[in-house]
């Protein structure tokens, strides 16, 4: 198989042909190759494109190059918690040292652990193809299990998180799997919130592995919007919130978990994160 390692996005785009495949970390691609599910003729390695690496901050927000390693994102302390926690939840140290955030996004597995954090952070994906540059909201990018809005040959070059998602907000992430190490999410859940004077001014919630694509839980968000800590921290409210999450998702039963469990756990994870965030939000103001 031919292999090339372009230095620029344009060079990568011009190298692309019918039987080529882009590779970043290769942790998902390597499995497809091992199972002989694909047999490309050419491999284009995106990891030498400097413009696609690293985390940078500007007035507009945060830009994360698509080839930034998951381990670097997991270790970063100047990005929202939910994203670093999601990154840390992926695979194993070895996998995190190879895998990239762009790979996790483009693989579009419903259980990808950076996807729900990116959904709640209102991330925008920068895409570049033969037809030029375009930007897509995370919510518009995922089209189904392993399906995305990418056109053939198009490259995800960067992830942008708007400043509005960074300032004055707190975030949380939790997931559960069959075991504690090397876990594949049965359900993962990310929450972004702005809490002022003990009141939720704004909130976004996303659940993964509970539908063909990462879902925003709009009804749950509405339940929480404008509520005070005192209103939220009541058993009855939390029960209703969990119940709302359980009906808002559309999980299936598969080898990783049953539908019922996914529903129960979604509610529980949401309650846990909201409890943590609300307590933290109140504490921050003390």
């Amino acid at each position: 198989m031919d292999y090339c390692k372009p230095r620029t996005v344009d060079e990568a785009l011009s190298s692309f042909g019918d039987d080529s495949v882009y590779i970043a970390g290769g942790t998902d691609l390597g499995v497809l190759l091992a199972e002989m599910l694909i047999s490309p003729v050419g491999m284009i390695d995106l990891c030498a494109i400097d413009d696609m690496k690293g985390i940078s901050r500007s007035d507009e927000g945060l830009t994360i190059g698509a080839c930034t390693l998951i381990s670097d994102i997991a270790a970063a302390d100047d990005i929202p918690d939910c994203l670093s926690l999601g990154a840390a939840a992926i695979g194993s140290p070895q996998i995190r040292n190879m895998a990239t955030i762009g790979g996790n996004i483009c693989n579009a597995s419903p259980c990808g652990d950076t996807l729900t954090p990116l959904m709640v952070l209102d991330a925008e994906f920068e895409l570049k193809g033969a037809g030029g540059r375009r930007a897509l909201a995370a919510g518009d990018f995922f089209r189904g299990p392993k399906k995305t809005a990418l056109e053939p040959g198009e490259i995800l070059t960067a992830v942008r998180i708007p400043a509005a998602s960074l300032e004055g907000s707190i975030t949380g992430f939790r997931m559960t799997g069959k075991r504690n190490g090397q876990v594949i999410s049965q359900v993962n859940m990310a929450v972004w919130a702005v809490i002022i004077d003990g009141k939720i001014e704004n909130i976004r919630i996303s659940a993964g592995s509970v539908a063909p694509v990462p879902l925003r839980l709009i009804r749950c968000e509405k339940m929480l919007q404008g509520k005070t800590a005192a209103e939220i921290m009541k058993d009855a409210f939390m029960k209703n919130l969990a119940a709302a999450a359980e009906v808002e998702i559309t999980p299936i039963s598969d080898v990783r978990a049953g539908e019922d469990y996914r529903r129960s756990v979604s509610g529980a994870l949401l309650v846990d994160i909201v409890t943590d965030l609300v307590s933290e939000g109140v504490k921050d103001e003390d």
Binding site: R179, I184, Q186
Partner: protein
């Protein structure tokens, strides 16, 4: 001999084969390279049941680098293998497909990649049949016969006393159904063999395997060669746990057939999915249990019906049927017992040996039911176990009486003492549930009823005093080579680092059967001891001549022959060995150990069956997160009567590792089938515990010497699996107040049950 006289036995010893393992120099089968070596890859049926009409290899043969595609007609022998005759397992499918992982053709190519590519071009024309996927379906009156003799693989009964009159006397009768799932061995090294024609009309097979003699027999038969023309050498073997026997024979036959045909070395190294789909699993079992007790907790009767899902082929099913049968009553003195144990064929991957061999499944059922009884009678977990535990002189379920080495009560006492140090109560706080589970177990050591129990071993000393030990049982990671070297060093009075214990080579010692049933230390150790004693006699005779005294005045210790009445009078053993050589005294001995034979009634399983039992008691305290069902094990005490600890380092490793496999069986691991296909044939979705899932096992050893084991030792490889699995199930019941009668009890099961309560 008093304890303090041992120089090497009973002291922690590093693995004698450890250096090559930590440096990566040890050559496992898949690491071997031979000039001209080819690679073989099997084409699987991909259909759980059907009639194989034809196999078209035309396109596969056109792939560059492919030398041959062998189908059933290309095999040279009967195309049959198995554990107990008459054999029922085909190596390459002829007519009927019995499980999805069945091999239909074998591609041989210059590279592994070419073989795999070509395998996809082999076209097997299979008429699909409705697969038989449950034991109920297999036993239905109108069920299709998976094998000519029907769908019952093997069935046996154990009858002691009169179970019905026992129940009539009982104050409390508890009756329930229990179920366990298939478990995958998941050794980290997938199976691999390499067959090398040696140019002298013989063939050598290097194998990752558990039973080199099984391989030799099956390979010879299927090549149409006498056994003497086949040599099997065990390569370093990356774990086995019972799993590298049938499958090693299967790929050994395929590799050897191709090697003979093409006159080139042939390697077969399984991928992980092949290792899961195409080699045996632990039997899934359905168990109906009924126990009758008096108010004071005395068990008066126990009845059980065991149904084992054996999958497509018999493999070890007959022996697992027997072992489950014999152990179904647990380590208790019960006057009336009636057990019926049956394995059936289904269209799934065949079941066979897996560490514990039927005992973990029945221990789960038996200990769950005993705990249910204790709870209804208001008796504590340890009291009810102590009340019924076997004592020396008691008749066990097979009516066999042991007058010594029955340490079950001591293991219960040890657990009671240790658990007194922490809170064992069932309790609850805002986020968590807490509970403690207990389980006692019994596990027969060595072959017992499973057949003749013999092991060959050789001990050889060179003129420089260094020693080579070779036993017919395999090192699988459990530390057999270390124990064999320890025994030889102890007998010969030499430092452990002067002893080399080599891997098994079928040319060099007598057929010693399989390294199974926790028998390596016990029966294998006895053979090594015997062989070493003979060499010791030569050394003593020589030293007697040198000291001009009688042999009984000399001891061998610290690398010297020493006069008993003058510790400073010492001759280095190398000098004695050199002199012995030149005097013509034998410095090598080939010995043979034979465990006491089983002698029992085959209809009732009453009589002498095993020559020793390991007994154990486990306690496990857990904490369950209410919101997710996630479990954390806070304490795990594993107490076993091991007869005598030969190597504390190796022994604790066996208990810790075995316990985690038991924990996996009870909590995490489940082979998921859909329509006869395994859905999780990988290590991501088949959840083997990682380091973050480990349990904090504390090992306690009770030493009730076994007269049939070296220095009193009994095996410890298998027993911890049953203890940890059953204790976990009882811990979950204690914490949640809900009795789960099916394992694994996963996070998902726990959460679903808690929410349903």
């Amino acid at each position: 001999m008093s304890e303090k006289e041992f120089a090497i036995i009973g002291k922690p010893q590093q693995k004698v084969d450890g250096i090559e393992l930590v440096t990566g120099k040890a050559r496992f089968s898949g690491d071997l390279r031979f000039t001209g070596m080819l690679h073989g890859y099997a084409v699987r049926a991909g259909v759980p049941a059907g009639k194989l009409k034809s196999v078209d290899t035309t396109e596969a043969l056109k792939v560059e680098g492919v030398l041959d595609v062998i189908t059933a007609s290309g095999l040279m022998g009967p195309n049959l293998m198995g554990i107990l005759p008459p054999f029922d397992q085909q190596i390459l499918a002829v007519d009927q497909i019995r499980y999805a992982g069945e091999s239909v053709a074998f591609v041989v190519a210059e590279t592994n990649a070419a073989a795999k590519r070509a395998s996809r071009l082999v076209v097997a024309d299979i008429e699909r049949w409705e697969p038989i996927l449950t034991t109920d379906a297999a036993l239905a009156d109108d069920a299709r016969k998976i094998h000519e003799n029907g769908n019952i693989t093997f069935t046996k009964k154990l009858i002691k006393g009169d179970v019905e009159s026992g129940f009539a006397d009982a104050d409390l009768i508890i009756e329930n159904d229990y179920e366990t799932s298939f478990q995958e061995h998941a050794y980290i090294e997938p199976e691999a063999v390499c067959a090398v024609p040696s140019g002298d009309n013989r063939i050598t097979i290097y194998a990752s395997c558990q039973s080199p003699y099984h391989l030799r027999g099956h390979i010879a038969a299927n090549l149409g060669l006498p056994h003497s023309k086949v040599k099997v050498v065990q390569a370093y073997t990356g774990g086995s746990f019972g799993g590298k026997d049938d499958v090693a024979a299967e790929i050994g036959i395929l590799a050897a057939t191709a090697a003979v045909k093409l006159e080139r070395p042939v390697m077969v190294a399984h991928d992980r999915d092949e290792s899961i789909i195409g080699s045996n699993l632990r039997h899934a079992m359905k168990m109906h249990y009924k126990t009758g007790l008096k108010k004071d907790g005395t068990i008066v009767a126990r009845k059980a019906e065991l149904l084992l899902d054996g999958g497509a082929y018999a493999s070890e099913s007959p022996f697992v049927v027997m072992k489950a049968l014999i152990h179904a009553a647990g380590p208790y003195c019960i006057p009336n017992v009636m057990i019926e144990s049956t394995a059936v064929y289904t269209n799934k991957t065949y079941s066979g040996a897996f560490r514990g061999f039927g005992v973990p499944q029945v221990t789960f059922a038996s200990e769950s039911q005993l705990q249910e009884a204790a709870d209804s009678l208001g008796i504590s977990a340890l009291d009810i176990r102590m009340k019924n535990a076997l004592k020396p002189g008691d008749a066990n379920a097979t009516n066999q009486v042991f007058n010594e080495s029955v340490g079950i009560r001591q293991t219960i006492e040890a657990v009671a003492e240790r658990t007194a140090g922490f809170d064992t109560s069932a309790s609850e706080d805002a986020d968590y549930l807490y509970g403690t589970g207990y389980a006692s177990l019994i596990q027969g050591i060595s072959n017992g009823a499973e057949g003749i129990d013999v092991v060959g071993a050789s001990v050889q000393m060179s003129q420089d005093g260094s020693v080579v030990v070779g036993a017919g049982l395999t090192e699988l990671g459990q530390g057999a080579r270390t124990v064999f070297a320890q025994i030889a060093a102890e007998v010969l009075g030499v430092p452990l680092n002067t002893v080399t214990a080599r891997l098994v080579d079928t040319d060099s010692v007598h057929d010693s059967g399989a390294t199974v049933a926790s028998r390596a230390t016990t029966t294998g150790g006895m053979a090594v001891m015997k062989a070493a004693e003979e060499v010791k006699d030569s050394l003593l005779s020589m030293a007697a001549l040198m000291f001009k005294t009688e042999a009984e005045n000399i001891v061998l210790k610290e690398g010297f022959a020493v006069l008993v009445f003058d510790d400073s009078a010492r001759i280095p053993i190398p000098d004695v060995a050199t002199a012995a050589y030149w005097t013509g005294f034998p410095l090598m001995n080939l010995a043979f150990s034979r465990a006491p034979d089983a002698d029992y009634d085959h209809d009732t399983h009453q009589g002498t069956i095993y020559n020793a039992y390991n007994y154990g008691t486990h306690a496990m305290r857990i904490k369950i997160e209410k919101s997710t069902g996630r479990v954390e094990v806070l304490n795990h005490i594993a107490s076993h009567d091991v007869g005598k600890v030969l190597n504390p380092l190796g022994l604790t490793g066996q208990v810790e590792g075995g316990s985690l496999i038991g924990f996996g069986l009870a909590h995490m691991e489940k082979v998921e089938y859909r329509d006869g296909f395994i859905q999780n044939a990988n290590l991501a979705d088949y959840a083997v515990p990682t380091v973050m899932d480990r349990i904090p096992t504390e090992v306690i050893s009770v030493e009730e010497a076994n007269p049939n084991g070296p220095y009193g030792a009994k095996g410890i490889g298998e027993p911890p699996v049953a203890g940890a699995a059953a204790a976990f199930a009882n811990a979950v019941a204690a914490a949640t107040g809900i009795r789960f009668r099916k394992i694994p009890v996963t996070r998902e099961d726990i959460l679903t049950a808690i929410r349903g309560k």
